[in-house]
């Protein structure tokens, strides 16, 4: 009976995503999405990796960008589309249902000015992230930007210990609400830098357990194509 209720709860979880995310991040995420959208310039081609219900994508559309959302969940893709249509902005939105390691199957090199992703990549281990970063580097035009916001492992040992305790306490609500095991990344900026980006800014929240990293794809001279080694 308990298990059944629990399953039901999970089953309807996607519909509760938006508020579940808001609750789990104490409202921080909405603020961060607003900040990210402020970086968008009119006419930019933006890729939102793991677009979810489209809250960030719609914000970017409002800034007159062309937005491509990719997400592996059909339900989420439909939500993004629905929200964009409701805002009357669906004509500048493209959605793709596929996974994060498949980016280069869909988009050509240098096809985006900005790549954003919030609360998606934190689930993946370092090798996956490096893979995605390499792809992002190829997909961004030289001088293009990458903004990633996610849960990370805090910088200092002592905070890490407190964080581990907090995570332990949050584990059950997180599990019930989001269905997303948290694997906070250690050294997110390092992974991004290793992908060939120049870090522009790093901002931290909640005792450095949540970071927003803004990076730029370096402008290469004509001799080197925009490819990654």
């Amino acid at each position: 009976m308990l298990m059944y209720g629990w399953m039901k709860w999970v089953e309807i979880a996607p519909q509760r995503y938006d508020w579940a995310v808001t609750v789990m991040t104490f409202g921080r995420l909405d603020h961060i999405k607003e900040r990210i959208a402020n970086e968008v310039r009119a006419g930019d081609h933006v890729l939102d990796i793991g677009c979810g219900t489209g809250t960030l994508a719609v914000r970017c559309l409002r800034k007159s960008a062309y937005v491509t959302g990719i997400d592996s969940s059909k339900y989420m893709i439909e939500q993004t589309q629905r929200h964009a249509s409701e805002a009357g902005l669906a004509d500048r939105l493209v959605v793709v249902q596929d996974s994060v390691t498949q980016l280069r199957k869909h988009f050509g090199d240098g096809s985006f000015d900005l790549i954003v992703s919030t609360m998606v990549l934190g689930e993946f281990p370092r090798e996956y992230l490096s893979y995605v970063m390499r792809d992002c580097r190829a997909l961004l035009r030289p001088g293009g930007r990458l903004i990633i916001a996610d849960e990370v492992l805090p910088d200092r040992l002592l905070t890490r210990i407190f964080y581990a305790i907090g995570l332990g306490l949050l584990w059950i609500p997180n599990f019930l609400l989001l269905r997303r095991p948290l694997f906070p990344i250690a050294d997110l900026p390092g992974v991004i830098r290793a992908g060939g980006f120049q870090i522009k800014s790093i901002e931290s929240w909640a005792a450095s357990s949540f970071k927003m990293v803004s990076a730029e794809s370096p402008i290469l001279d004509a001799a080197t194509p925009g490819m990654v080694p």
Partner: protein
Amino acid sequence: MMTRIKDLGWELFHIFFRHFNFPCKLGLINVGTPGENSPVFLSGNYTLTVQRVLRKLRGIDCYLLVANSRGSNVWCAAGMNEFSEYDVIDAINVANLGNLVKHRRIIAPVYSAPGVDISAVKRETGFNIKWGPTHLDDLPRFIAAGFKRTNDMFQVKFGLQDRLEQAVSTAWCYTMTIALIGLVWPIFFFTVSGLIFFVYLFGFTLYPLFPEERHWRRTLTITALLTTAMALWALWSGWATADFLLWEGVLVAVCLLMAMDCCGSTPLHKSTIKHWLLNGDYNSHFSPVIDPSLCINCVQCILVCPCDVFAARRDAENTVVVVKPDRCEECLACFKQCPTDAIFNRSGEVKGDVKSIPNLEVLAARDWSHLKSEDRWIGAATGLRGGLPIVLEGRTTNAPTVPPRRAASESAATSLIEIGQ
């Protein structure tokens, strides 16, 4: 010795916390010293499964590809859209498997079939998914047989060990839930917890001895047995009537809890609480029937069904038919895998909680009135040929060829658990 103790400690820990997810690291694990021709096995990233598989693979040079099942066991995850073709594709991409091995074959737990669309994996990565044995314990035999499933490796079993683990992990969840009562009323808490453990262990250990759940028969039998035992004990030790009534109430509540757990503790389970309350059985909503004009005879449905629902026709025609629809436990693996949507649904309904199949509700509600004549295969005699169940045509009768529903398949999904590799 130390590893043995460590293994045992982990096993125990995981038995108690079976209903929680314990993710382990994703990626490719080298078992022994694999090379470019070594076999590749797939697993989800549930810690216990990976540990068990690695133990089974000891001494074999191979790769184990651990893909993201969100820390849950594969069967659960696949049924809840938490382990899909995308997770397998990601794992293949990141491991750069295509360059690592020469062949293009991955042996996957058949329990991933409700979630992993093998044609998508093939299209995106070039790798063919081949289904392994249903039970992880059969892996060594599967390998020894030249990566073939033998006849006994298809059906889901719900053996004593699975049942005990299921009983303990579920009872443990309930005792944790009522733990707060222990702070104010410890004696009551400990007695109730003891009772929960006892009822679950009793019910699950003796599972095959109880009658099948038809008109609440099993639940009533168990409740009556335990009530009688308690009444005798109460008489023997001279309980006050009020005490007896209190504990009888608790006992009935726990028995009810167990009955309802049997219908919904997993997303793959065959029934809903509502169905059980109204009908007194655990039959699934989904009831497959195949359209022979759409079936291309790929036999995927036979390969992925853990309940022996399908059989192939090999005499007058080469198609697959449904012979034992009442055994179905609605895992929807066949529905997910059928490349031509040839499988229709007699009931028009699904439980509605497997979400990795696009348009599930629409497909499951399609009109099947043109397939009424396909019911003639229900109960047909079957035999095994090369591991595949074949309809023995000409011997189709209404004779009692359908073996009594095995308790095992009836609530196999309760054991989603570890048999789900």
